[in-house]
Symmetry: none
Subunit: 124 residues, 2 copies
DNA sequence: CTAATTGTATTATTTTACTAATACACTTTA
DNA sequence: TAAAGTGTATTAGTAAAATAATACAATTAG
């Protein structure tokens, strides 16, 4: 496990890098529902981070419904909760609609947005 | 003039609020090419901000080509030799970037957004 | 030409976000 | 039930961003 590393020279905070990496593991299917994550201290050791930094990442992931934490026990991937999944989807759609409104107000069309996205896709 | 106010309890920095507000004034047409902006000190007094905060906003607006500053003279809206197109594109890009950040935090990838957009395109 | 008005530059202070150190509390397991 | 392993809470340190204080420089108005 743990197929990612930390870029300490990046401007994006370390705990967010951890969050993004784990989300990617889950979304890609490399981490599946019920899989156990490494204990905070262990992951911290592997990534050479302070345990609190990993704890913050785990805490956020739990807040967002990606994992479940049990004191004294561990952390598990949680994708079973479809209600939360559709909640996320709903939020995404809300955000997109807001963005679309603003974009249309700016005189942009879907084509313009598509182009913009192509550029971002290329740069990532 | 100055149809906006500052939310000091907001987490978005004051100088950015000023920037956004002025961009909106310009975009909406309430401020037009050649219109003079209030002097730094005056706007600072109205909004109850430090002059430097307003100066930072004005400076950024000039960097981005929205206004023109002349030492000892004042600040003017400048949309003339800027293609209105690129003007809008700039704002569109800002909005898109914000949306993208939120989307990524929700666990969505560029693919998901693409799909979302396809659906919207179909419904138009 | 001078004083008032304007933007600019430099430096200091405050605030915020991030990370770290340490101690606490719950579970598991032997 | 004790010890080891786990997440949690509290507090402190650090760095970066935002804001403020002050002085400087150019333009304009009279």
């Amino acid at each position: 496990m743990i197929r990612f590393s930390i870029d300490s020279s990046s401007s994006v905070p370390v705990f967010q890098q951890v969050i993004q990496a784990i989300k990617l593991e889950i979304l890609s299917g490399r981490l599946q529902n019920g899989d156990q994550l490494p204990p905070i201290r262990e992951l911290a050791k592997i990534l050479k981070l302070n345990p609190n930094t990993v704890a913050k990442a785990y805490y956020t992931l739990e807040e967002e419904g990606f994992i479940e934490s049990k004191r004294g026990s561990g952390n598990w991937v949680n994708t079973k909760n479809m209600k939360l999944d559709s909640f996320r989807r709903g939020m995404l759609e809300d955000e997109f609609r807001l963005f679309l409104d603003r974009a249309l107000m700016l005189g942009a069309g879907l084509e313009d947005i598509k182009n913009l996205m192509e550029r971002y896709a290329a740069n990532e």
